[in-house]
């Protein structure tokens, strides 16, 4: 299980980025996770809670957006999203392709901040 190492890297990166952007406190960490990243979502979520303990990120939510595999089909000359990561065939014409455009990423996408008001829901601040 390498999700603990990944969570560690994520938290270090997020703490740095939060300081740079002046976000305090961090309410949520948004992550893009490719289905080909080799990372198990549940293990990462579990590790995240452990790793954030006692850090400025303690209590922050981890929001994971799964990114499907997108391949380039040499026959259609187009990019297509695969309904399942495998087999690696163009979903339109059926040609095999290994040209992966998306789906490998483990990306800290965004940080969500707030005033630290626990009852302050994210969606409720439309003005």
């Amino acid at each position: 299980m390498h999700e603990l190492s990944i969570a560690q890297s994520l938290v270090e990166l997020a703490i740095e980025a939060a300081a740079d952007a002046g976000i305090k406190p961090v309410k949520a960490v948004h992550l893009k996770l490719g289905t080909l990243s080799g990372v198990v979502k549940e293990s990462l979520e579990f590790s995240f809670d452990i790793v954030t303990e006692g850090t400025p990120l303690e209590g922050a939510r981890l929001v994971i957006e799964e990114v499907p595999v997108k391949v380039f089909c040499p026959d259609c000359r187009e990019a297509h999203v695969l309904p399942e990561p495998f087999p690696m065939r163009c979903p339109v014409c059926g040609v095999k392709t290994g040209q992966v455009l998306e789906g490998r990423e483990i990306e800290l996408y965004a940080l969500e901040g707030g005033e630290g008001d626990a009852g302050d829901d994210v969606e409720s601040t439309d003005r």
Partner: protein
Amino acid sequence: MQETTSNPRIVEIRQNVLKKNDLLARGLRKRFLDAGVYVTNLVSSPGAGKTTLLTEVLTRLGQRYRVAALVGDLATENDAERLRKSGAQVRQITTGTVCHLEAEMVERNLEGWDMRDIDFLFIENVGNLVCPASYDLGENERVVLFSVTEGEDKPVKYPTIVNSADLAVITKVDLAEAVGFQRERFYEALSEVRPGIPVLEVSARSGEGIDEWVSHLETAKRSCKEMVSTS
């Protein structure tokens, strides 16, 4: 409701979580390239025959080149001891509880070795077909090994690592018939997850395929050098 204009609600960051590892790996890759070292990262399950095979390859290559190996393992020096018999320079990386190698471990364990004294460096990753997939070690080539005793659908069970590999090696092919290894099914499984991946069939016991692998490495190293001199 409180006004929160002093604090941004959502800030886009868009940074690779493994940025640190990848930067280190990039640095390593440049260092290897400048010194003319060809680096192979070997990944497999435990028991695929990596160490035996590597001993063979090191012995064969060692007759004409300067070879070295880094061996990742959770504990023990056993594998390194076996590999040293080939005459290569060998270092064991003991990872403790970590189930994969990271670029930082490679960098740390190269200390004291002059890269200009090495032609081929092999990194034997920890026996694991999942975790090593995420970590770039600055290698030129990632090789995934499967033995004929592991069954034909193994590539489909571990698609991520296969998808990130540059070469697949089937080991223990001298046992293929005895275990009823269905070659076609295996090749089909491979191409489902990594279409077009080159495959080598080898046996450390019979010596089959070892020469092919050695000449593959020589060719790869040569084209690597040409790439540098023309760039």
